[in-house]
Symmetry: C2
Amino acid sequence: MRKTFALFFWFALLAFSQAPAPQQPLLVSPEIHADHRVTFRIQAPQADMVTFFGDWMPVGKQEKMTKDEQGVWSVTLGPLPPSIYLYSFTVDGVTMADPVNPRIKLRSRTSASMVEVPSDSPALWQERDVPHGMVAINWHTAKALGGGTRAVWVYTPPGYEKDTSRRYPVLYLFHGSNDTAAGWTLAGNANFILDNLLAEKKAVPMIVVMPYGHAVPFTAPRDQQAKNTALFEEYVLKDVKPLVESKFRTMTGREHRAIAGLSMGGGQAITIGFNHLDLFSSVAAMSAAVPADFETRFAQALRAPDKTNAQLKTLWIGCGKQDFLFDRSEKFSALLTANQIRHTFRPTEGLHTYTVWRQYLGEVLPLLFR
Amino acid sequence: MRKTFALFFWFALLAFSQAPAPQQPLLVSPEIHADHRVTFRIQAPQADMVTFFGDWMPVGKQEKMTKDEQGVWSVTLGPLPPSIYLYSFTVDGVTMADPVNPRIKLRSRTSASMVEVPSDSPALWQERDVPHGMVAINWHTAKALGGGTRAVWVYTPPGYEKDTSRRYPVLYLFHGSNDTAAGWTLAGNANFILDNLLAEKKAVPMIVVMPYGHAVPFTAPRDQQAKNTALFEEYVLKDVKPLVESKFRTMTGREHRAIAGLSMGGGQAITIGFNHLDLFSSVAAMSAAVPADFETRFAQALRAPDKTNAQLKTLWIGCGKQDFLFDRSEKFSALLTANQIRHTFRPTEGLHTYTVWRQYLGEVLPLLFR
């Protein structure tokens, strides 16, 4: 009987998913309380065990949820510091996004939900009533990858469309593994962060180019994954850069180009940046998968610190001390220091999450192009 | 033991969700076969019943899935005609998107997954190697709705950024209930449809404006939902139109504006269009939630067919004969006919899905602005 009811409920929701009026009363999840605690709920009357994972929790930990008489499982957690959090439910062994929360984290494979705990005093990453830039999705044929249509997300600053003679410097900004070209916008709020910095005159108006970082399909076998960075470099330089420079009013010359990324994208930014100091004058690596062979691969740059320091206006490395990749950033910084390569190393509190990356972007953008 | 393993599997996936290399071997879902049958799979070893719903199926029907020794449930369906389909799994009463398919249908509340069965001879809605327009996400403060930041998705045709003196006609294009401003792009392929029509010179280059249609929150009680169209009209006319006309090179004058939508958005297009024949010269309603009070509300337009016919260059009504809203479109067309209002009525095969709406958009766009 219960089963029948639950099925009917979902049929009804599906049936009316495009129809005018929603059914009442509706389950609320997530519910953010005034004190920044958050209640998560899922209706799963037939489940034996439902647990919760949020990306502020240690990996592997799951919070138990409890079931009420209506078959709704819930857990209240926090208070959580204002930020964005990714979370998922595991219902009898099946991990899933929150079925009633529209804020889905788009990924290359698995999905999760997002909850934003708003700040009482507007945070840098929060949308404010300031002039907003646009993010344009640009589809194109990825010739360097043998064809196929890909999307590059491109931020243009407020006023871009007004003064059609003005040209802008360009930041190439890469996402992490299992993320998409939409990640820095829809989870990272890169656009709002830059809007807010511009409104406060703390950053230079710039174009931000956000391509899709999986040149090799995310689901391809591991040996093929090893070629991803090299193939992505080809793609960025032969497809993305020409596309952006032909469609948008970019400034040319290395001093007007920076390259940055998080996790996998941080590794890509380091590799492509150091491979092409002729094209990029600043590199930022956030919680980066630093290339394991950096020391041998870029021995030339390490052996000529004066030249490298003259070329690199900004070399910024940030990582959360609780991040599983912290060790890589710390060793990378030590290697640079040992070779007298000027850089900023920012060990911060934090895990491998957008909470940290939003903060880092807010720190990096003001350093660029001035 | 099984439970422990399954949990560990998902912990591992979560842990490495931003890390470089995916685990192997990976479950494949959906798998599209050469004969256009599709296999859907989900790993749910502890589940008692897993069923499948696809939007080509009658509402309420569920296909049974069967479990293999590894706890993977699967079903092979079709062959399906080339198109886009939305689908979901119901695992012991919990309806969810496909956990391994990255193509999630973003909605206002529930989510589903999407599968695209490609056409052997490129369909109009399929991306081709032709010049692509962009879709720009424009954030702004919705003053007519009392504040808050909203996003309007705006398509600009190929070449828009080159000839900065050229101005374009504008189509306002609305989504259905429980959809989002992204729907016409990420599920409807409106951008590719227009790119392809432009490449074939079958449509006029135009700007397409896609706002978010839930002016009243989708989860608000039913009595508040009744005010949605009126509030949305305020929002479109006082916020969206001025935004678009100030940021993009639009042509002004009613002959350069059209209004269209699907389902709830079709109702909105009819209402806003007939309320403002001073602003719009064409109206298209796809599988529309035709306003129940059209006859009384727009009695004036019905009673003056000569004037109305002179104002309305195109009045297009399409609906699938198997759609639960077919009756409304049919009666609407009969009412118009009885009052000698010139229009096109296109009863087609089909349900209430993007399969139909992609087809309709391909039929409507060539009619506009010529």
